[in-house]
Structure formats: structure tokens, C-alpha cells
């Protein structure tokens, strides 16, 4: 009985050695198999980061930016400018192409499609008006040129529309009047006439349509160009960068409420004077306006008394220190991150009245205002623009004195500053040019076109840079999670960019600007998405420090047993060999 029971439970250590060894080998091999076949893929999948698919090839294509800008120009010959045989060859269409390579990734090409034709009867009537401004107005009522196009009316020498020394008149809309000399007309072919007119027309195009300097300045986000001259540096620093919205704040500074009680009809003034400009600029950006009055806001700089004119003066050099003390009190709308333009109107206190700004040559500045690039403008009220105030207060004046401010003059200056700050370049036109004043909207149509050209190019350049640097960043850092919404934003940005570039090539300025704005919005949203934070930087030694305590204790027995198996197999093989012999 005892022997049987003992036989039933054979101790493990008594089992034959070969069986034990085989079982051991099998165990080690199966563990190794499980680790490799199941464990390693499981670890790989669970530590993988989710990266949605991005259209990388299309982004690479966009990195090489090829912009084609095209403008339609119509040149209309009025009666008396072409001879009958020249007239036979008209209507005529010419295309001019200019290529520029800005840097290795960016190329620009400009195309001007010029159509030559003769004037219709109605246009002739319009050109018979007494002054150029009226001619411009009646020409505009005849036909509306689309965004981005130009019409140049060529008028004969005998026409009385333009004064003597002026050859070109640039209107408020998209028309220009060009006067040619009569001696050039007789006995020449049409080609020679066109060749003679070409430098003038080029000048007109340079002023009214896109110019190479403007477009390359708009590309500054993408290309670090060393600017040509100091003027262009100042221009590029002054205007705000393209943004989907801007906030405009009008502030009235009253340092001396005891002496002055100020009345300004800001709502009406904004509605009448500023709103038309902003409505005209609505394709470019959204604007929000607010206004405030600040009491006891000092300038921070002491004005000097100028006894020769018995006024107080502020030097141009001390103006730079005026802004900082005031800015701390201005405040801004906390809800949006749009750039803010501040326009301040300062009424000097009774002891420092009247106050004028002097330039470097000690001359009074006619507008009595100054502006700071990318910030806004400050204006000091002039005595003549204020009703109900005497130059010198009489002894028995009852304080506080009621002051009504002439908003038309004030808004005139603010509007000029607003134009400059928004990037409506007003460079000096070439000699012989007369530019019409911009009218009540504050912006001529061709100025709007120029702004739209440069904004579209700027938006496209910025969006392509953003998308390519985002793609590069995501490529370099393999640990960042790319969510679906980011991939979707990137795809929509790429689509909008491609559409914008093609619309620009076709010459549809409005659509190009709209698509470029959408591209900018999507690309910025994708780039600045809060989930893209690169906090996943692991130096290599940290990676080892994490994985070694997990995997080393497991791997050491497996490796050792595998090695043992291999050495035993080799031993067996060696033992077998002599047997074979």
C-alpha cells in the first residue's frame, strides 16, 4: 500500500532529467514567443500617439509659392487722339508678362491685359464736362469697373479738363485721364503711338494698381528682404499686419474738468465720417468701434511757453514720451485678441492753452497731431476748431466753460491717420500727376484695390508659411498628437490657399481676398491649437530610465534560458558529430 501511494506521487526531482530539461526548454521558448509575438506589438500600439493624416505632399507644393497677379486695363481713346488709319487697328488686346524671382521658394509673375478701344458717344459726352472731377463722376455712372481693373481715358491735347502742367488725372474710382501730345499722333502707326504712351501708362499702373515694391513688402512674412530705402522700412513698420478684425477706440482726454466741460458728438461723427470708410473696407477686415472719455489724464510732458507766439509748444522730440503714461489708462476690450487702434483727442488744460506741436524746424504742424506706428494717433485740439471758447479767458469767466468740438475737423485728421495705419499707402505720385482727393468715404476705389492686392498676397504668404512650418514641426517631433480637427483645419487651409492662388491668377480680386482670409483663419487655428503643445520631449536617458526597470527583469531570465538552450543544442550537435564519425 505504501509503495503504491509513494509511486503515485513521484517527486519532480526524481523525474528523468531529459524530461525536465525538455519541459524547461519548452517553457522558456514559449515565454519568449509570447513576449515577442504578443508583448512587443501590444507595447508598440499602446504607446503610439494618434496622428491623423495630413496632406503633406500638397503642403510641400505650396511651400514653393508661385504667385500670378493679373490686372485688366482698358485704354479708351477719345475723339481726337487717334487718326482714322490708327483707328482701324483698334480694338486691340495686348498682354504683358513680367517675372520676378524673389527667392528660391517664391516667384512672382505679373500680367497686364490691356485692351485698347475707342470711346463711345456717352463717354465722349462725359469727357466734355468742364472739370476733371465732374468728368470722373459721369464716367463712373456709365460703367462700373470690377475690382482690380482700371480704365484709362486718353484725351487730346486740346482738352480743357486738365490744367496746364498736369498730364494725368487719377480719379476717385478706377479711372484715370491721360493727356497725350498732339505732335506724336500725326504720321505714326498705332504701334508707335502705343509705344510712346507706354511709359505713362506704366506710371499710371504703378500708382493705381499693384506695384512690385508693395507686393514684395507684403511678402515680408515669408521672405526676409533687406528693404530698399528708409521710406519702405517706415511704411512696413507703420501699418498693422493683416488681421481678421481691428478695434478702434476714440478717447477724449480732459485733464482739467474744473475749467472745461467738453461736448463731442462722437456717435454722430463716427456714423457720418468713419463708418463709410469702414463699410468700404469690410471685405478686408471687421472693425469694432468704441469711445471713452478720460478725466485727469495728463500728457506726461511739460509744454514750453513760446513768448513770441504766446502759445505753449510741444517739441517733436518730446512726443515719444507722451504715449506711455496715457496708455496705462486706456484699457481695451478684453474679449478679443484683435489689434487695437487708439485715437486720442487731447484738450489742453486752462493753464497750458493754447498748445501747439512744433516740428524739427520749429514750425507749427498744421494738423497738430502725431501718430505712432502700429498704435494709433494723438491729436491736440486747436483753438479754431472749438466753438465757444476765447483765446484768453476773461477774469469773470464762469468755470467750467462749455466747449463744443468741431468733429468734422477732428475726424478729418483721425481719418488720415487711420488710412496710414491701415496701410493705404500714399506715396508721392510722379511729376505731372494730379490725384483726386479721396472723397467722403475716405478711400478711393483704386486705393481699396491696392490694399486688397497687398492683403491677399500677405495673407497667402502668411498662411503658406504657417502651414509649412506646422507640417515641419509635426514631422520633426514624432510625439505630438495630431487630432482630427487639426487635420481638418489643415486640409481646409490648403484648399483655401489653392483656391486663393488660382483666383488671384484669374484676376478675381474679391474672391482671392476672401479665400485668403479663410486660409489664414484655418491655418492660424490649426497652428495655435492648444492641443499641439510639445511637452513630450523625452531625452534618451530618461527613456532608458523608464523602460529598464520594466523590461530588464523580464528579459534577463528569458535571454539566459535561450542562451542555455542554444549552448545545449550546440553541445548535443558536437556530441552527435563524433558519433557520426
Amino acid at each position: 500500500m505504501k509503495i503504491r501511494r509513494a509511486q503515485q506521487f513521484v517527486k519532480y526531482s526524481d523525474q528523468p532529467v531529459m524530461l525536465k530539461l525538455k519541459r524547461g526548454q519548452l517553457a522558456a521558448l514559449s515565454i519568449a514567443a509570447v513576449v515577442i509575438i504578443v508583448g512587443v506589438p501590444l507595447w508598440w500600439r499602446t504607446t503610439e500617439t494618434y496622428r491623423a493624416w495630413l496632406p503633406v505632399s500638397q503642403i510641400k507644393e505650396l511651400a514653393k509659392l508661385q504667385l500670378h497677379l493679373s490686372a485688366d486695363v482698358e485704354v479708351v481713346f477719345a475723339r481726337g487722339t487717334v487718326t482714322p488709319e490708327q483707328q482701324k487697328k483698334v480694338p486691340l488686346t495686348q498682354t504683358q508678362n513680367m517675372e520676378h524671382r524673389v527667392d528660391e521658394d517664391t516667384a512672382l509673375s505679373y500680367r497686364y491685359e490691356t485692351r485698347y478701344r475707342t470711346a463711345t458717344i456717352m463717354e465722349e459726352d462725359a469727357l466734355n464736362q468742364p472739370t476733371a472731377a465732374e468728368a470722373d463722376l459721369s464716367l463712373h455712372t456709365l460703367s462700373e469697373s470690377p475690382s482690380g481693373s482700371l480704365v484709362v481715358y486718353v484725351i487730346p491735347e486740346s482738352s480743357s479738363l486738365l490744367p496746364q502742367n498736369v498730364d494725368v488725372y487719377i480719379g476717385q474710382r478706377r479711372t484715370a485721364l491721360l493727356r497725350i501730345g498732339s505732335q506724336m499722333r500725326v504720321g505714326k502707326t498705332l504701334e508707335q503711338l502705343l509705344a510712346h504712351m507706354e511709359p505713362r501708362i506704366k506710371q499710371v499702373l504703378h500708382v493705381m494698381s499693384f506695384s512690385h515694391t508693395d507686393i514684395t513688402a507684403a511678402l515680408s512674412n515669408r521672405v526676409r528682404i533687406s528693404p530698399g530705402n528708409k521710406e519702405s522700412i517706415a511704411d512696413s513698420m507703420r501699418a498693422f499686419k493683416s488681421s481678421p478684425g481691428y478695434e478702434i477706440t476714440f478717447s477724449l482726454l480732459n485733464p482739467d474738468p474744473k475749467s472745461h466741460r467738453l461736448h463731442w458728438d462722437i456717435e454722430g461723427a463716427v456714423e457720418t465720417y468713419i463708418q463709410p470708410l469702414l463699410t468700404k473696407l469690410s471685405p478686408v477686415a471687421n472693425f469694432s468701434i468704441d469711445s471713452q472719455t478720460l478725466y485727469y489724464a495728463m500728457l506726461g510732458v511739460n509744454p514750453r511757453f513760446d513768448s513770441s507766439r504766446s502759445t505753449y509748444t510741444l517739441n517733436a522730440d518730446s512726443l515719444a514720451h507722451v504715449i506711455n503714461p496715457v496708455e496705462a489708462r486706456l484699457g481695451s476690450n478684453a474679449a478679443s485678441s484683435n489689434p487695437v487702434l487708439n485715437f486720442l483727442l487731447y484738450i489742453p488744460d486752462a493753464h497750458h492753452s493754447p498748445l501747439y506741436i512744433h516740428d524739427h524746424k520749429k514750425q507749427q504742424v498744421p494738423t497738430n497731431a502725431f501718430h505712432s506706428p502700429r498704435w494709433g494717433g494723438i491729436m491736440i485740439i486747436r483753438q479754431c476748431w472749438v466753438y465757444n471758447v476765447n483765446e484768453f479767458y476773461e477774469v469773470d469767466t464762469v468755470f467750467p466753460v462749455d466747449i463744443n468740438i468741431d468733429m468734422a475737423k477732428v475726424m478729418g485728421v483721425f481719418l488720415a491717420q487711420l488710412r496710414l495705419l491701415l496701410g493705404v499707402q500714399s506715396s508721392t505720385p510722379p511729376p505731372g500727376f494730379l490725384v483726386a482727393p479721396c472723397g467722403n468715404a475716405g478711400l478711393a476705389d483704386w486705393e481699396l484695390d491696392r490694399l486688397m492686392w497687398s492683403r491677399s498676397v500677405e495673407n497667402i504668404a502668411t498662411a503658406t508659411t504657417t502651414i509649412t512650418s506646422l507640417a515641419q514641426l509635426l514631422d520633426q517631433i514624432g510625439n505630438i498628437v495630431i487630432n482630427d480637427n487639426i487635420a481638418q483645419q489643415v486640409s481646409s487651409a490648403v484648399t483655401s490657399l489653392q483656391l486663393a492662388v488660382s483666383e488671384l491668377e484669374a484676376g478675381n480680386l474679391g474672391f482671392a481676398l476672401q479665400y485668403s482670409k479663410e486660409a489664414i483663419l484655418s491655418s492660424e487655428r490649426a497652428f495655435f491649437d492648444p492641443s499641439l503643445l510639445h511637452l513630450l520631449y523625452f531625452p534618451d536617458d530618461q527613456k532608458f530610465a523608464i523602460y529598464i526597470p520594466l523590461f530588464l527583469p523580464m528579459c534577463v531570465p528569458i535571454l539566459l534560458s535561450l542562451l542555455k538552450i542554444v549552448s545545449e543544442a550546440r553541445q548535443k550537435h558536437r556530441e552527435k558529430k563524433p558519433k557520426k564519425d
Binding site: A28, K241, H371, T465
Partner: protein, 385 residues
């Protein structure tokens, strides 16, 4: 002989050019010497606890100088990891002193702290720099710089070789910082950037920078410790670090119109005063440091142009049509519930990511050990259990 004449002519020509250039620059004024139109400052104190009083005092003294020289609060992002002024152990509440004998209260009356206490984290700092903040972040907590902004970044706290400690629980490495600056450069979020760090082994933090237009200063080299300046017996802690103490002394002499340049800043706190060797890095900076004014980064001197044009407006102001007699427009307003308690109570708990249960690793080890001993012999198990 000819060569001599040529050399003379050459020298004369160069001098002429230099003179013309200087003339032109003076006339053009400050407008073109630096390409910036606005200034920003990001001042960070990364350590908490009462005995790190000096780090808060460091940051507040730089904040005070920067405000005095003109940068407004809207352009300063101030991050303080702990509140020393209202700390229970502060014998003089609502003050943070920087000089022994309580000479200078850098807390003042007008401090705007944008990130306080536990909001000062590596993540928030990187979010501010790169701009990747959630849309609900208010303006005062954002760095809204553009391509014409000069930014001053000042970090202080405890650091080591290649890292800076935040809040005693996490750290930012120099590679992350360099990458953040590169992302800022890609998006053109700065024109020029001055980086000052006052920690132990501070120079290691700027070793890895590779973006253009960066200038960096540190209070000590790799392997050196930055030391604190002086303890105050009444308050009981060290009040300032040496480098920032002498930096503050240097900045107190600067006023908004001063022409001191960066070369003077590099000389602040030599080894005799600081015990550690301050370092600086200018190889990534395009302009010559001698031509960079202190106020280009620490102050905010605005460029100004006189407005020469005006637009002639002739229309009279339209009188806005006011609402018809007495009938006030009544709009229905609803009170926006700030704390929707009912929603919070009935909210389902958020789905957390699945983590393996605790002790999983331990269990795995036990299993492996058991298999090992099963394979090679049970007798070894007796020694363990």
C-alpha cells in the same frame, strides 16, 4: 609708394562713408536703428515656499524697472509662483523688500500679477510663448506680440545643468525652451528677444538656442551656483540674488531717454561682486550689442511721426434718429448662470483613459519569478518565502 597712397585713399573713403552714415542715421533718428514698434516683457518666478522669497523679489524688481521705464501692464506677463507679500510668515505684510533694512519695497501699490500660484507651470509658460492658449484666455494673460515686438524674458528660480525647476515638481529643459523660441520665430512673434536667467548654472539654459535674433544673459556658468545677496534679520530670509541685485542697481540709473547700451549690461555684476561668472550669448543676434540700447528691451520708447495730411470732410453730422417718442425698446435679457449647479450635480463622470490597475507591474514580476523558479527548480523558492 603707390600702395601707400592707395591705403590712404581707402582709409579716407571709409571715413567719409562712416561720417555720411552717421549723419544720415542721426537725421533719421531712432526710427531706423531698431526695427521694433512695441515692447513686451515676460517675467517668471518659478519657485514657491517662503525661503524662496528672493526669487519673487528678483522678479518684482525687474517688473518695477520695466514699468518705470514705460512698458504698460497690458504688455507685461508677470508670473509669480507664490505669494510672498501676503504670506503668513511675512512680518511686514503687503510688502516685498529688495534691500536690507527694508529700503525698497518692490511690491508697490500697482502690481498686476497675471499668473499666480499654481498657474505657473511649464505648460502655461510654453503656452504663453507659443501662443497656444485656449480661446477663453483673457487678453492680459496672452503674449500678443507681432513681428515688430521686442520681448524681454526673465526667468528666476532654482535650476541645474540644462533645466529649470518649476514649483518644486516639474522642470523645463533647455531643448524645450529652444524649440519654443524657434516656434515663436516661425510665426514671427518677435523682432528681437532678450533672455535673462538668474539661476544656478544658468548658462546651460541658453546653450541650445538656434533661432535668430536672440540675446541671452545668465547669472552663472555651467557648474557654478548663483548666490544670494544678503539676508534680512527682521524678515528672516535672503532678500535678493546677487546678479539681480546689481542688475536692479544698474537699471535704477536708466531713464527712458538714456543711451546706455548692452555692452554695459554685460558688465553688470563681475565675478568680484557676484562670486559666480555671469555669461552672455550674442552670436545669434544680428545687430552689434554696442548699438542696442537698454531701453530697446527694458523700456518702451515709441516711435512717433507727425501727421501731415488731413482729409477735408464737408458733410454735416447726421442727427441720429432717436427712438420714437417714449417707446423704449425693451429687450429680453436673461441672467447668464455662472455656476450651473444642477448640471454639475447630474454630470456623468468623465471617461478617463484606461490605465493598467495598480500593482500590475508587481504582479507581472511575481509571475515571471514564479515561472523562473518553476523551470529551474522549486528548491530555490524556499529561500524566498
Amino acid at each position: 609708394y603707390v600702395r601707400g597712397i592707395f591705403k590712404n585713399l581707402h582709409g579716407w573713403f571709409i571715413n567719409c562713408l562712416r561720417y555720411l552714415f552717421c549723419c544720415f542715421q542721426d537725421r533719421a533718428g531712432q526710427f531706423f536703428s531698431s526695427g521694433h514698434t512695441n515692447n513686451w516683457a515676460v517675467l517668471v518666478c518659478t519657485s514657491r515656499f517662503w525661503f524662496n522669497y528672493r526669487h519673487v523679489a528678483n522678479t518684482l524688481s525687474v517688473y518695477r524697472s520695466v514699468k518705470r521705464l514705460g512698458i504698460p501692464d497690458s504688455h507685461i506677463v508677470l508670473m509669480l509662483a507664490d505669494d510672498m507679500a501676503c504670506n503668513h510668515r511675512n512680518p511686514k505684510p503687503a510688502t516685498v523688500f529688495s534691500h536690507k533694512n527694508m529700503e525698497l519695497n518692490v511690491y508697490g501699490d500697482d502690481v498686476e500679477v497675471d499668473y499666480r500660484g499654481y498657474e505657473v507651470t511649464v505648460e502655461n509658460f510654453l503656452r504663453i510663448l507659443t501662443g497656444r492658449l485656449p480661446p477663453s484666455t483673457p487678453r492680459s494673460k496672452r503674449l500678443l506680440s507681432d513681428d515688430r515686438s521686442n520681448i524681454l524674458i526673465y526667468l528666476t528660480g532654482h535650476g541645474g545643468n540644462g533645466f529649470l525647476k518649476f514649483q518644486d515638481s516639474e522642470e523645463i529643459s533647455n531643448v524645450e525652451l529652444a524649440d519654443a523660441f524657434e516656434q515663436m520665430w516661425q510665426k514671427r512673434r518677435y523682432n528681437e528677444l532678450l533672455f535673462i536667467i538668474d539661476t544656478c548654472q544658468g548658462a546651460s539654459m541658453y546653450e541650445r538656442f538656434y533661432s535668430p535674433n536672440l540675446m541671452a544673459l545668465a547669472s552663472s556658468q555651467v557648474g557654478e551656483d548663483s548666490l544670494s545677496h544678503q539676508p534680512d534679520l527682521a524678515i528672516g530670509v535672503h532678500l535678493m540674488d546677487r546678479y539681480t541685485f546689481y542688475l536692479l542697481e544698474f537699471l535704477e540709473d536708466i531713464h527712458p531717454a538714456s543711451k546706455t547700451n548692452m555692452n554695459d549690461l554685460f558688465k553688470v555684476c563681475p565675478k568680484s561682486q557676484c562670486v559666480s561668472t555671469p555669461g552672455h550669448r550674442t552670436d545669434l543676434f544680428l545687430r552689434d550689442p554696442g548699438s542696442v540700447l537698454i531701453t530697446d528691451f527694458f523700456g518702451s520708447v515709441r516711435k512717433v511721426e507727425l501727421t501731415m495730411e488731413t482729409i477735408n470732410l464737408t458733410d454735416p453730422i447726421e442727427q441720429l434718429e432717436s427712438a420714437e417718442s417714449g417707446e423704449l425698446q425693451k429687450e429680453m435679457h436673461t441672467y447668464a448662470d455662472q455656476l450651473p449647479v444642477s448640471e454639475i450635480i447630474h454630470q456623468k463622470p468623465k471617461q478617463k483613459d484606461w490605465h493598467p490597475p495598480d500593482g500590475f507591474i508587481l504582479g507581472l514580476w511575481t509571475l515571471i519569478l514564479l515561472v523562473f523558479f518553476q523551470t529551474y527548480g522549486v528548491k530555490h523558492l524556499k529561500h524566498i518565502f
